[in-house]
Amino acid sequence: MKKLSARRRHPLAAVVVLLLALAATGGLYTAFAPADKAQADTSAQSLAIDEGKKLYAVGCASCHGTGGEGSTDGPSLVGVGAAAVDFQVGTGRMPAQQPGAQVPKKKVIYSQAEIDQLAAFVASLGAGPNVPTEEQYNPEGADIAEGGELFRTNCAQCHNFTGKGGALTNGKFAPTLEDVDPKHLYEAMQTGPQNMPSFPDTTLTEKNKKDIIAYLDAVNSDDSESPGGLELGGLGPVSEGLFGWIFGLGGLIAVAVWVAARTAKAKKS
């Protein structure tokens, strides 16, 4: 809420809106154009790969190469696996709109069926992590406290204590983890999207990942508790200081003005 209004007032807001509008137009086109062809849905794996290949040719090949070999505009997709595709396309990061320090999360333009087809195609290029099953990422019954410690060891340095996000070098950033789908959290840890390092099962086990997801669910979701009151963005002393100055001292000065003001006089001077 605060972030949005701060962005709206940003001098580049108009430019961003324009770019978004342009991109949305293009995005909608790419979304709908292949959608017609995808009507003939089939469960057969080879058909899925074929369909995925067609989607790929339209939406991805210009940057990642027609065979997923990569180009100057995008990395090779050989061996990234279905999980990477599911994360990148499923969070709307791919297809990318414009080059920049980092490709941000945005509106998802493919249906889950199409994403699965794309994933199947990319997975056929070279073996990589599969899309996790719900059993793998469902945080129920996981150890929240253990997850907290793992989060502080492995994740907090970039994503903040409770996953509010943070800055990286040269305009890159670690995004907020608020309300990110557990499946996508799992995939991100497994595949290491963009500049994020990966945390494969060999070093961060499936249970570790579940614990982390459970911790995030406890401290960084819509109904997370903030016993002390307003969370102030969960950003620590900077937002607390700002709040203390504006509402704390500001309010007290307003009170002081009332205390020191002269009471209304009875006659006109």
């Binding site: 500049n195 994020m196 990966s198 070093t203 002390g228 307003l230 009875a266």
Partner: protein
Amino acid sequence: MSSQDIPEENLPAERAADEHAHAHGDVSVAHEKDPFADPGLPPHEHRIQDIDERAAKRSERTVALLFTLSMLSTVGFIASFVTIPADRIVYIFPLGHISGLNFALGMTLGLALFCIGAGAVHWARTLMSDEEMTDERHAIAAEPEVKAKVLADFKQGAKESALGRRKLIRNTMFGALTLFPLSGIVLLRDLGPLPEDKLRHTLWSKGKLLVNMNTNEPLRPSDVAVGSLTFAKPEGLEEEDHEFQTEIAKAALMIVRLQPENIKDKRELEWSHEGIVAYSKICTHVGCPISLYEQQTHHVLCPCHQSTFDLADGARVIFGPAGHALPQLRIGVNDEGYLEAHGDFEEPVGPSFWERG
């Protein structure tokens, strides 16, 4: 401030006019000489409450109401304390899911205190006299006679003490007074041990396995994928250990795997194993655990002060306030295929210090 509508007959018209004439008695003369002369305090003006008893009564009732509200709030505070469980979470817009007890106690305590204050201030502002008064100031510095007396007294006292004449007393006294604080300084000696070479050594030594922080298992090269990030501690160091905090503050390790052809620094390549490099996790600036690893650029950033190191180039500093590269730990593989250290760090880890060299 703003003026208000008051029935004519309530205004002390004559008195005000009198005062005005009095206060401004000689101003017109002054005005001729100096247009900017001080006209003196403006005449006092009455508030509504001063002349209208009904308004004064209203103020009185307001003050009493505020004090009563405060009493009720205190009762509310005690009631909340007794009735609301400490772990009750309530949703209050726009604050979120917050502790009901904290909110209730804070609001009632705040209201109880604020109402006392508001009542007192309202009382002072509307019912106590608001006539401005004047205090004279007097120079802070003493009159010359006082000063002369004090100086004379001092001279007399100094003379009687004979401090100036009896040099031996004076000098030994100064000596004694200068020396005795040394005891205090000496007493501080046992605040801590001497540094010796403690900052130069960590728990790492030849043959110690690299143990994964997350799983508490020793690492194999195949566990560490290109682009992944792993944290390790020396074999044998457990969280429950008494010295864990102090030891991990020096021994914490950050392990990444690069394509060997991407490693630009020759020594780094030599000290690595199949592209797996192990660097100290402790920033060389002021010691934050540095680990914001960007797997595409191979840069690692410190979240505290933004020192940036290039892990593909001997962890040299490429931005920020750090003064030197992160120390690298030389690693290899033992007979059983586990990653092991080939010795301690060759230079001290963490922040620079005078004896570091």
